[in-house]
Subunit: 239 residues, 2 copies
DNA sequence: CGTGCCCTTAAGAAAGCCTTAAGATGAGTC
DNA sequence: GACTCATCTTAAGGCTTTCTTAAGGGCACG
């Protein structure tokens, strides 16, 4: 697929030679590139022009790659690739744990970076294997899965990680009834299959935040004895 | 139905003892098994013979289980079960996040692996290749199995879990007579095989809700001495 | 008549769901 | 390392719905 819209990649590294190397290679591969040489500048860039993917070095003065990953994850689920120096082996796990999507060890092959970037973008953009929607629009309730943002009546809603996960499960099967055990298994893990109490607490929390009248649910409907369902008035899951 | 096609499971672990242990148990349970001892080999195997499910170890040299999961998810939505060492507690959540379906902590009970595998396959296979209809449309009576909704004359009908289960059994064999013992066994469990009283009570409840004239049943017909049958006028079972 | 099967009814027991709140946990900050 | 804050976990009470159980009535068939 051609770049109908250019794909913007933000590259962050304190080493200007690497910055240039990556830029050249990515641009030759058809990407548009923004660069930043430290964490603070990266966040500013991120706000100014939200990129479609981020490549960042782990070891940087000031905000390091891990912290930066975490910060970005607070506001976006954009694909992130970490560049780790060799020997930082143990840290790669940490990187993935806190939300990075992939990593490369330096020195790295620029072509491999391009390949991984493409693979990531394919997954997140087209939803390659699954056909998961990127957003959901149900009357007062809007969910942007890419940015991890939820809006209720035009106002942004602040959800905790667990709340978001739960809502996401509901939203990705909008209209269908999801058995309690499935929700518990997907959000908390298979061994929580029978812990319905967790659901009650978190369903309530969600209702408080995204229901016009929390004690008279319009969106999050319980199907007693079975599970929950996210009601969508008429419409559709966006592009 | 017989194993028209054997279910193929790809098992990936760098420990050959575990590989053998799992292979033996899965084969005894009727699965066909492919194995690989590292990530790269696994991907090659995957391409050569796409399996119906994947079991993989998290900690492996080279491509670890997480990365492998992600790679596989880029091209397929097969069920994936992760094997995590004890103490990798925090990572299990990540495993589910990136697309695994279940996990077991080592040391694990081979029987449990088989059980979880079956559960996963039941869910995914039934959905895709599914033989079961998604809806039933019989004159005044409409059933949407996905949304778990029943309509009678355009009005939504509220059913209790047990009522729904019973109606579902009838509807999925619409037109055919189902023996009492079968219904009891499917809805309440095998040990209720002889408790016809339950049926009478719940059949009546259903008739009250979905029959034009409950005392003159048109849909739920009893076949004295055998069982019950859901009558469909000319009838279609939807897509 | 008497027996077996099915229908109807209703009341106590049980389960499911909602709500609340307090303690534990963990990440971020200084 | 101690402090702070948000989040998660856990437990308990109340309310509503659903399930279970038992008993009585009709109807057909011998």
């Amino acid at each position: 697929m051609q770049p109908k819209t250019n794909t913007l990649v933000l590259v962050v590294d304190d080493d200007s030679r690497i910055l240039r190397l990556v830029r050249v290679n990515l641009e030759r591969a058809g990407f548009e590139v923004d660069t930043a040489s430290n964490g603070v500048a990266a966040l500013e860039q991120f706000d100014a022009r939200p990129p479609d993917a981020v490549v960042l070095d782990v070891t940087m003065p000031g905000l390091d790659g891990f912290t930066l990953t975490r910060r970005i994850r607070e506001i976006s689920s954009v694909p992130i690739i970490l560049l780790t120096a060799i020997g930082e082996q143990s840290q790669k796990v940490k990187g993935l744990d806190i939300g990075a999507d992939d990593y490369l060890t330096k020195p790295f092959d620029p072509d491999e970076l391009v390949a991984r970037l493409r693979a990531l973008l394919r997954r997140t953009q087209a939803g390659s294997s699954g056909e998961e929607a990127h957003s959901l629009d149900a009357g007062d309730l809007k969910i942007d899965f890419v940015r991890r943002k939820v809006e209720f009546r035009g106002e942004p809603v602040k959800l905790t990680p667990t709340e978001y996960k739960l809502l996401q499960q509901l939203a990705q099967n909008a209209g269908k009834v999801i058995p309690n055990a499935d929700l518990l298994s997907k959000v908390w893990g298979p061994e929580y299959r029978d812990e319905s109490g967790y659901l009650w607490v978190y369903i309530r929390a969600l209702r408080q935040k995204i229901e016009p009248d929390p004690s008279n649910p319009q969106y999050i409907i319980s199907e007693p004895g079975f599970g929950y369902r996210l009601q969508v008035p008429k419409s559709e899951t966006g592009s």
